[in-house]
Amino acid sequence: MKWLRRSSGPSAKEEAGASSQPEVQPSLALSTLFRQLRKDRIYHILELGPAVGHNIEFLSRFSCRIRVEDLYRTLSSFDYVSGSDAVDFEAVFKYLLPYEGNTRFDILFAWDLLNYLDRQEFLYLMRHLTRFCHSGTVMFALIATSKNMPDRPAEYRILDENSIECRNVSSVLRPCPRYHDVDLRHMMPSFRVYNSYLLRNGMKEYLFVSN
């Protein structure tokens, strides 16, 4: 079972010293997104990654409400389904991401999280999140295209409107699911690709827009 196969959170050793040199990447997708943000309205943002001070500070220039989930860490420490192979993913995400029915997010930051979900998890997560999106909600995601990737999500920092910094928190590699556009269309039926760019580190950045 995927929930149990995940390691139970990063060890102190991994947290302390496994990271390689941070890489700065130009991000055309984020640049496109930030150009569209207005300062006279409030944005509801869902951060599926961890709380990163740089990003919060950057986003503070806009009036916004940010919901921080750190979903990978939550999933890693989540084992109440042990003993059962039939996972009700719908219930799982309902439990982990409990929002009020009238909640609607404008922007979702998934970063590289989607690479760490199997197809079922991916599908059900998107199905769950779609309920809290309106037509035009934007999702930023990084999809790995290389053969291997670090065994846990990296930390991404928004440096400015045009660039991000990637800090790998683990030097251990694992095979990459390499989701293609066809897979993404299948697993995110209510989103369309607005634009996508290949980054130097083998990640493809996407801006998805909900229909």
């Binding site: 569209q36 001070g53 009036s63 916004c64 919901r67 921080v68 009238n102 309106h134």
Partner: protein, 190 residues
């Protein structure tokens, strides 16, 4: 040389200069400026007052010091909603915090709850799960800790690429200029 020696002479004090009384707060007064809840203290209930507060112990209930700073020290463990001017979290907080000016989660800080403040700083290493409301217009009035309904104001990203009417317009401009039209080409100079 001469000038150097001159500077060694004591300068006369200017006459009739009004002396500004310097108030050196006594240790007792200094302590009064900020209250400290010591590491062995457990308080269950509401805390309010007119001075800054440092929590090194445990508080369960509610802390309301809207005009003063609240610091939850490294050993502090708070299960309460906190209202303050500048709130700094170095220990653990389970509850919602409302800062009139700023909220800082230090590298050792852990917060499970929602933040409402015009400015928020999360230091590297801090742990936070919840929502952050940085709408400065709402900061004075603590909002309930839920993500409120946000009526969509149209699509965030406008379709800028290959919109049919733009291409048509472009084609007309090319025809006017007597040039063959190429999609995605820059408009001709007329």
């Amino acid at each position: 040389m001469w000038k150097k020696n001159e500077t060694q002479y004591p300068q006369p004090e200017p006459a009739h200069q009004p002396s500004v009384p310097i108030h050196n707060p006594s240790p007792v007064e200094q302590l009064r400026e900020r209250a400290i809840i010591g590491s062995s203290i457990l308080i269950k209930g509401d805390i309010s007052g007119e001075e800054d507060l440092v929590v090194q112990g445990q508080v369960e209930g509610r802390i309301e010091l809207r005009q003063h700073n609240v610091t939850v020290g490294k050993n502090g463990r708070v299960k309460a909603d906190i209202w303050g001017k500048i709130i700094s979290v170095e220990g653990e907080v389970f509850g919602n915090i409302f800062g009139e000016e700023k909220i800082v989660i230090r590298s050792s800080g852990v917060l499970h709850g929602n933040i409402t403040a015009p400015r928020v700083t999360l230091e590297d290493g801090s742990k936070f799960k919840g929502s952050i409301d940085m709408d400065s217009r709402q900061a004075e009035k603590p909002a309930p800790a839920v993500v409120r309904e946000n009526k969509p104001e149209g699509e965030l990203l406008r379709k800028t690429q290959v919109e049919p009417h733009v291409e048509q317009k472009k084609e007309e401009e090319f025809k006017k200029a007597g040039m063959p039209f190429k999609p995605n080409a820059a408009a001709p100079r007329t």
